[in-house]
Amino acid sequence: MTTLLRETLTNSSIYMPTPARIVEVEQFTAVEKWFHLELPSGFTIAHKPGQFVEVSILGIGEAPISICSSPARSNGSFELCVRRVGKLTDALHRLDVGSMIAVRGPFGHGFPIDRFHGKDIIFIAGGLGLAPLRSLITEVLDERGKYGRVALLYGARTPNDFLFPADLAAWADREDVECHVTVDRPSEGWEGPVGVITTLLPKVKFPARNTVVAIVGPPVMYRFVLDELLAAGIAEGNIWLSFERQMKCGVGKCGHCQMHHIYTCQQGPVLSYAEVKNLEEALS
């Protein structure tokens, strides 16, 4: 019998994680690594694109990390892309294949993929934001026939900061996906666009009425991208954003991730612009 990872939350304590083994690691950039993790036999993660897990290294602590593999390609295993930015992620980066960590989740609401069916989709990723979006992008591409036109806009700091290079190359090769990338600072040999991510928006011409947009990126990016999308006539309820917050518990109890009345870990991390437009703390 298969046990869903989230079923373990109700067995004893909602704060007890389940062990997971690192089975593959790839260094994407100087500070970002990709981890392929395997759950114990009989466990499956059954997540939705955009959901996250609380990752533990016993003795160090716990941190929320978005799942970057698509639900269809995950099962007893799943993938995370982690930036080395704090105590937990620093320790995680030092672990090799075969090491054990522990996870709880998946938590929160992912992207409402049913509401994307039949629509044109623009994915907008800034930096590490490509990681949570990748779970959605691969899900959409796996069932490509259910959607209209698909575009990916991706901005990184420099050409050396691109994540998932193999995926990016594969997506760029596809005729049914428009791929546009930009960098803040070019390095030698870079011939692509230079500039902030909003400079890529004019490159995609989609009918506003039938377009949904999924955005994940650093806080500073959201306001600028939203201004452009709203000006282009995209409906507020068709713009989906994922919110990063400090999430100590993942289950709506510890209070850290609260923005106004919303516990981001439970009612988020993915919310529509219509839901957050009056929540000052969401977008500043």
């Binding site: 518990c249 109890k253 609260q258």
Partner: protein, 351 residues
């Protein structure tokens, strides 16, 4: 209703102590704290507010979540089996606070640690007949009466207590005890008299109706008052520690020197502390003290109401008493109400 003669109170408490841990307000250096009593003589029913609310028995300041061996990855939950506990002499505000905590901890993912404590805890409350301290504003917040939430509720009738039973758990505390008498008509008359006499002893202290609080706070999000008061707030987090409805926590790992055996624990945290909303990489989503203070007040008076249908403030006044910067909820909310009023009147006279 039952009757407990006052001279039988100690005998009842001693009977309870045979089967329960009895926690009650005790006087210590002129302050009152909830603590286990070892002698019925230690019991104080007529007390002014306790320093810490009784939430510490349901959500301890520090609590083990699970034990682990980091080498073998063995993990086991540490859900404390507490002995049956009676919390005595809860004020009505604290009872309302526990009702809110029950709702929050039982909504969505149930917190088993809280539930394990709560299941074994019986609440004996006492009718507040006069204000317990200057800062209390329970009448304004609607927490001066307790229609439900108690297991046993006592009302001081002079030489006796009127005893109401609110649950089966409460029933068990008095079951078969000859200490409790059946009331006579005079007891009902006396109880009604006492209840009628209590209300004038309390003042309404909020300048708006409690039901207007969510609207008042919504309309005051951009008030300059948050900056003004934020400038005086010391970000000590004291108000959240003494608050009977605050439950936010931080999670920490503690491990031995061999980096092998450890525990994951949670400790009380405070949304007024600067790092509370900081994410990895250093961005602070609530970067100023004014915004942190505003968050606390909107959480109490608006967000909790929207999420759980109950206000997050029960008017106990402990935060006001404990604040080294003399920030009081009544002072702050009333200023917001006063500043809103002229603007509204002006607007309506224009239209």
């Amino acid at each position: 209703m039952k009757i407990l003669p006052k001279h039988s109170l100690k005998a009842w408490v001693e009977r309870l102590r045979a089967t329960h841990r009895v926690v009650a307000p005790r006087e210590t250096y002129g302050q009152y704290i909830f603590e286990e009593i070892e002698n019925a003589d230690d019991l104080v029913l007529d007390y002014h507010s306790s320093v810490l609310p009784p939430k510490k028995y349901l959500l301890p300041p520090r609590e083990d979540l699970f034990a682990f061996n980091a080498k073998t990855m063995e993990m086991s939950p540490l859900i404390e089996e507490i002995q049956p506990t009676v919390i005595m002499a809860l004020h009505t505000c604290d009872l309302h606070a526990i009702t809110l905590l029950d709702k929050i901890q039982g909504t969505g993912h149930t917190d088993q640690h809280y539930q394990a404590r709560r299941r074994k805890t019986t609440l004996v409350s006492i009718e507040c007949l006069k204000p317990c301290m200057d800062h209390a504003f329970c009448k304004s917040m609607g927490t001066l009466a307790v229609p439900e939430g108690f297991d046993v509720h006592l009302t001081d009738l002079g030489d006796r207590y009127a005893v109401e039973i609110g649950s089966e758990q409460g029933e068990q505390l008095i079951e078969g005890l000859s200490l409790f008498w059946e009331p006579v008509e005079a007891d009902y008359d006396r109880a009604n008299q006492v209840m009628a006499g209590k209300w004038p002893n309390f003042d309404y202290r909020l300048d708006c109706d409690v039901t207007d609080l969510p609207d008042l706070l919504a309309a005051s999000q951009d008030s300059a008052l948050w900056d003004e008061v934020g400038d005086t707030c010391l970000a000590c987090g004291q108000c959240t520690k003494v608050c009977p409805t605050c439950y936010c926590f931080d999670v920490l790992d503690e491990i031995d020197l061999k980096l092998e055996h450890g525990k994951r624990v949670r400790v009380w945290d405070s949304c007024l502390i600067e790092k509370f909303a900081v994410v990895a990489g250093g961005h602070n989503f609530r970067s100023s003290q004014a915004r942190r203070l505003r968050h606390r007040f909107l959480r109490k008076g608006k967000y909790q109401y929207e999420s759980y249908g109950l206000l997050g403030c029960v008017g106990c006044g402990r935060c006001a008493l404990s604040c080294p910067a003399h920030i009081t909820p009544i002072g702050l909310l009333n200023t917001l109400a006063q500043r809103r009023r002229p603007a509204t009147e002006e607007a309506s006279s224009r239209s």
